[in-house]
């Protein structure tokens, strides 16, 4: 089965709402909060950076793509 990777291709559009951060924790770890998330938002308002930790396979990347209101994410298949 081809591997799927989550990428923040349109990071410049990020508004810092952190829905992706919370969703990552919720779908991958079944936990509410930002502590266990594999996504971190850094930077200042207007200049946000999206950091994705690829340490473990991401089971539901499509959920992250769907929840972002600014459509910052893509899934790459290899």
């Amino acid at each position: 089965m081809p591997k799927r990777y989550l990428t923040a291709s349109r990071e410049h559009k990020c508004i810092g709402c952190q829905l992706c951060v919370l969703a990552a924790s919720r779908y991958e770890k079944r936990k509410l909060g930002a502590k266990d998330s594999f996504i971190t938002i850094k930077g200042q308002p207007g200049r946000y950076k999206i950091q994705i930790d690829y340490g473990k396979p991401i089971k539901y990347p499509e959920k992250i793509v769907k929840i972002c209101p600014q459509n910052c994410f893509d899934i790459i298949t290899s």
Partner: protein
């Protein structure tokens, strides 16, 4: 998130000492202005400022604001602002922060779990930090962008600058994942009930709207007590003023507030507010005589 009590961080700015206190009696006040009013009433002589979050801050869309309470010339001032501070407080298990006393120094307060570090910094160094909450006489904002409204003529009783950073050190195991998920998505789909338009501006944590109001605070709107206890965004009042919605949200993440508790909240909070006004009026009368 604390289901059975409220955990309050007391910070003495003069002595740079801190203390976490558990308050079971504050549970009935739900959070936000409810807890804030009660803390202000109990600490009216010592407290410089009180910051509170709501029980759902960060866990549901549009519940993204924090409440800042203080007194100015024997008048109660309440300000609401967004950014990350409310969600981070809730996710660190802190329901309120009470700043006691005053200090001419610029203080950088970092909170990680049970540890609080209070360091003295220059104003410039403090400004360079990305602060979850920055407070000074004329400034109250989160992330250098999300303001708590205008403080013109309502200066905070602080001599120096105070910067606060909080690490989100806890997360909750989800019990009813599918119930929560259904509720969360329903609320996301209800964005048309908000009285702001979606945009591309920096957004408060947990809010997908990106509206152009997030940087300004909520000086110009009046909001019902229940949404103010959750500290939902004022523009989402239409969603969170209904007790069944609030009850469903609270229950889905493990709070055990009974429906009748929520019905009593507005009168309980109103009573405390009246008591605060009474005390402040007494002080005013003493000064004038």
């Amino acid at each position: 998130m604390n289901t059975e009590y409220k955990r309050i961080l007391y910070i003495n700015l003069a002595t740079k000492e801190y203390e976490f206190k558990i308050h079971q009696d504050l549970r009935n006040y739900l959070g936000g202005i409810g807890v804030g009013y009660k803390l202000l009433l109990d600490n009216i002589d010592e407290a410089s400022a009180i910051i509170t979050c709501g029980p759902l801050s960060g866990y549901f869309p549009y519940i993204s604001k924090a409440c800042l309470l203080y007194t100015h010339a024997n008048r109660l001032v309440e300000k609401f602002g967004g950014g990350v501070i409310a969600a981070k407080m809730n996710m660190a298990g802190i329901d309120g922060i009470v700043l006691i006393g005053n200090s001419p120094e610029n203080l950088h307060i970092s909170v990680f779990d049970q540890e609080v570090t209070i360091a003295t910094e220059t104003a410039l160094a403090l400004k360079d930090n990305q602060l979850d909450l920055a407070l000074s006489k004329k400034i109250a904002h989160s992330d250098s962008y999300f303001n708590f409204g205008s403080l013109d003529g309502l200066e905070l009783p602080l001599e120096g600058h105070v910067g606060i950073n909080i690490d989100t050190s806890s997360s909750i195991n989800m019990v009813g994942f599918y119930d929560y998920e259904k509720l969360y998505n329903t609320l996301l789909d209800d964005y048309k009930m908000l009285t702001v338009e979606p945009g591309n501006n920096p957004s408060c944590m947990g809010c997908p709207m990106g509206c152009d109001k997030s940087s300004k605070g909520e000086d110009d709107i009046n909001v019902a007590i229940l949404p103010r206890c959750l500290i939902a965004c004022g523009y989402s009042e239409e969603i969170f003023k209904h007790i069944p919605t609030v009850y469903a949200c609270l229950t889905s993440i493990g709070y055990t507030y009974h429906h009748s508790y929520l019905e009593r909240v507005p009168s309980l909070v109103g009573e405390v507010r009246a008591n605060i006004n009474e005390v402040l009026n007494k002080y005013e009368t003493i000064i004038n005589s």
